[in-house]
């Protein structure tokens, strides 16, 4: 039963990942951006669990829990607190208008799929088709970081990229060795904390988190 529907479910979740990535790309409101990020993390968690149960890779459960703890609970919580403390609830201005961004996004997805299709054939895993989607997610979050002018959305994009990577790891290779996943998770967490500190400092210097204030260092 599960063996039969499992792979399809994984593909479904992959599709959801991609959908959420696009949603984030399109999203203007910062709160819902965070929520979308959390949702993406949750999807990631589900797919990891699913892959774990399908393949019986014990350590995947671990990494799934890690995902849950970090990407669904910790980070969104930190972000929410930050937003509240910094009370920045404004809409996210984009440097590029949304439709154009989406258009770019679609091009990226096509590229990612083309890139991944030969690799997926090689993948011996049940979740081979997810690699392309993971790649697409990474590229999309990259695009999002480029198009957002505020600090917080950029960070969210950064974290979303981590999600994509994580998904690639689980999708392509049943997750990396545990040591490394812990390491990665640790780094992400520390990065988040440092970012938190940064937000406050940037705030108190420029009383704004708009990265357009961060354009003084340049050559002319």
């Amino acid at each position: 039963m599960l063996q039969h529907y499992g792979p399809q479910l994984v593909n479904l979740l992959a599709a959801v990942m991609l959908l959420l990535a696009f949603a984030m790309l399109a999203q203007r409101r910062i709160m819902s951006l965070i929520n979308l990020f959390a949702a993406q993390g949750f999807t990631l968690f589900l797919s990891t669990i699913l892959v774990a149960s399908l393949t019986g890779q014990a350590h995947l459960y671990g990494s799934a829990l890690l995902t849950l703890a970090l990407k669904v609970l910790a980070l969104p919580w930190i972000l929410h607190r930050l937003i509240r403390r910094l009370n920045v609830k404004w809409d996210v201005e984009t440097l590029l208008n949304i439709p154009t961004t989406m258009l770019f996004g679609i091009v990226l997805v096509i590229l990612a799929f083309n890139l991944a299709s030969p690799l997926s054939l090689l993948a011996g895993t049940v979740t081979k088709s997810t690699l392309g989607i993971a790649l697409a997610c990474v590229l999309l979050s990259f695009l999002m970081m480029i198009t957002r002018s505020k600090a917080v959305p950029q960070v969210i994009g950064f974290l979303a990229m981590e999600n994509g990577l994580f998904f690639a790891a689980t999708g392509a290779v049943y997750g990396m060795p545990m040591v490394i996943e812990f390491g990665i998770a640790l780094d992400v967490l520390v990065a988040m904390l440092i970012l938190g500190i940064f937000f406050f400092q940037i705030r108190e210097r420029f009383d704004s988190l708009d990265t357009r204030h961060l354009e003084r260092l340049k050559d002319q």
């Binding site: 440097l95 990226l108 590229l111 083309n114 890139l115 590229l139 990259f142 695009l143 970081m145 480029i146 198009t147 957002r148 002018s149 950029q154 990265t211 357009r212 961060l214 354009e215 003084r216 260092l217 340049k218 050559d219 002319q220």
Partner: protein, 667 residues
Amino acid sequence: MTMSGAPVHEVLGVACAWLLIGALGLLRPASVDWTTRFLYPAGAVAGLALAAIALSAIFQPAASVVLPLGLPDLPFHVRLDALSAFFLLLLGAVSAGVSIYACGYFRQAQGTSLGLVCLYFHVFLASMALVMVADDAYFFMVSWETMALSSFFLVTVDHDHAEIRKAGYLYLLIAHLGAIAILLCFGALQAGTGDYTFEHMRALQPSASWATAAFLLALVGFGAKAGIVPLHVWLPEAHPAAPSPVSALLSGVMLKTAIYGLIRVTFDLIGSPLWWWGVLALALGLVSALGGIVFAAVQIDMKRLLAYSSIENIGLIFAGLGLTIIFHGFGMGALAALALTATLFHCLNHAVYKSLLFLCTGSVLHATRERSLGRLGGLIRRMPWVAWCALIGTIAIAGLPPSNGFASEWLLLQAFLFTPGLPHGYLNMLVPVAAASVALTAALSGYVMVKFFGVVFLGQHREARLAEAQEAGVWERTGLAWLAAACIFLGLVPATAIGLLGPITRALTGHGIGNLAQGWLFLAPINAERASYSPLLVFAVTSLLVAVAWLAVRAFYHGRACRAAAWGCGFPDQNARMQDTAEGFGQPVRHVFEPFFRLEQHEPAPDDANPRFSSSAEDRLWYWIYLPIARAVAYLTALVTLLQRGRISVYLAYSFVTLLALLLFIR
């Protein structure tokens, strides 16, 4: 690789001695006595020793040693053959005179402490010696760049003046570019084998295209150091900026290291030059010679004037080299030998008389604190020693018999007279023209040197304070006398000096010149029937005639003379300002060769309260080549800075685009 080379070790010993002397200078950097009583004389002795060693080494077979230094796979190779020995002789002989002179010159520190100057000075000497014995690319480049660096510090000894700093900067920049070109030339010669010894490069037979690439790179690199047009711009800036003994070394010896390098690469490492390279070198040389002397004629700073005349002489040397390559390329070995002999002999002569003249300007500078010709004059009465030495140098550089300058130009012209025999239609028609321009250059240098000597030493003092000018000290006079004596010796018995060149021409072109058949008295490159010249006889006969005339006048008439005010067509109040100025003396040349210059003249208006006249003749090349390059670079930098506009999204976009591009690229 024969290990039987005593001279090699001695040369290295001299180099080490120089380095040691330099280092000792730092012991008591402020002490005048320490440097001028002990170190510089010691350096001079080392120079003499080097000359003696080199003299003995010319006729010995090439010997080489390997030092335990350098890169792991590439220890320093040292080799002493006739060519190196000849240039070492040049270095030793000239540096001896200059070092003696330096004892008297470096007496008060300007900007840099005496000990440091002493260090630079001797490191410079040592590095030049090492350049001439280096036998692998790395050692050569190390010595070469050390030479450039030490000379840069010497040029900017008095670094408080912005223009001196600027001059040094320009010098080092062009020197460095040239060095990179030379480096690439060696890269082309080692052909990717990773074996950088000259031994190996000699053995390799590069394809015509690689050989050409190597030669062109060498031409650029060494040409930049030699100051060949259009890479000459640093020379008239750096030479005046430097202290005079340094100018003497720069002009007298360092430029010759470039000639050495070019000969080494072309005839020794590449081995089989193509004839058209020679045409290129010849053309460049002639342009430099003519351009150099024409610019020298309009200078109003005595050291700049000499610097430009150095460009001229280097041009003549390049012309000779080009002729050598042409003959060699057509397999006319004997003629190639003749041209090469003329070239090398001219190197030696120029080294001697140009350093002599620079030292004379040094003494004048010391006595008057004045470099501008417009404020000098009449010094022959205040400082006769310097004046008479300068006169010898002047005759030599003007290429008049019986001086050494004439001897080498005579040889060069002889070489040109054979060119109609070339098996190439256009060449043997072009070369008479070349000969003509050489003759024109020689004549012009006479003009320039009359201006130099006449304005500096003759006439009335253009400034009142020149009347207090002091004769040069005994150290300085010794140095001058040494070089003047060398000029006279080389001039009167050139055959002996040319005898030294036999081994070199035989090694490089396979032929000697049939000179010594005629004995030491006569100079007959091919045969006496064709052309022969004996400066000693000419000198003897002329001076005999002079003496006879003098005695006869005394005998038949009388020797009475009385003093009176100058006649000057009876003008009541003659004064010094009525003399021709340096600008005035240059005016005819400016008139005749107008296209050469970028003239800017400012005549006063008729109703001018205090009328002023100013005229400047600048180098067109500076505006045609260098400024455009500078502008282009500035434009590119302006373009590039657009990459760094400070917006983080843009930066992210860069890496994003790079990523996508690469991903597409591998698809």
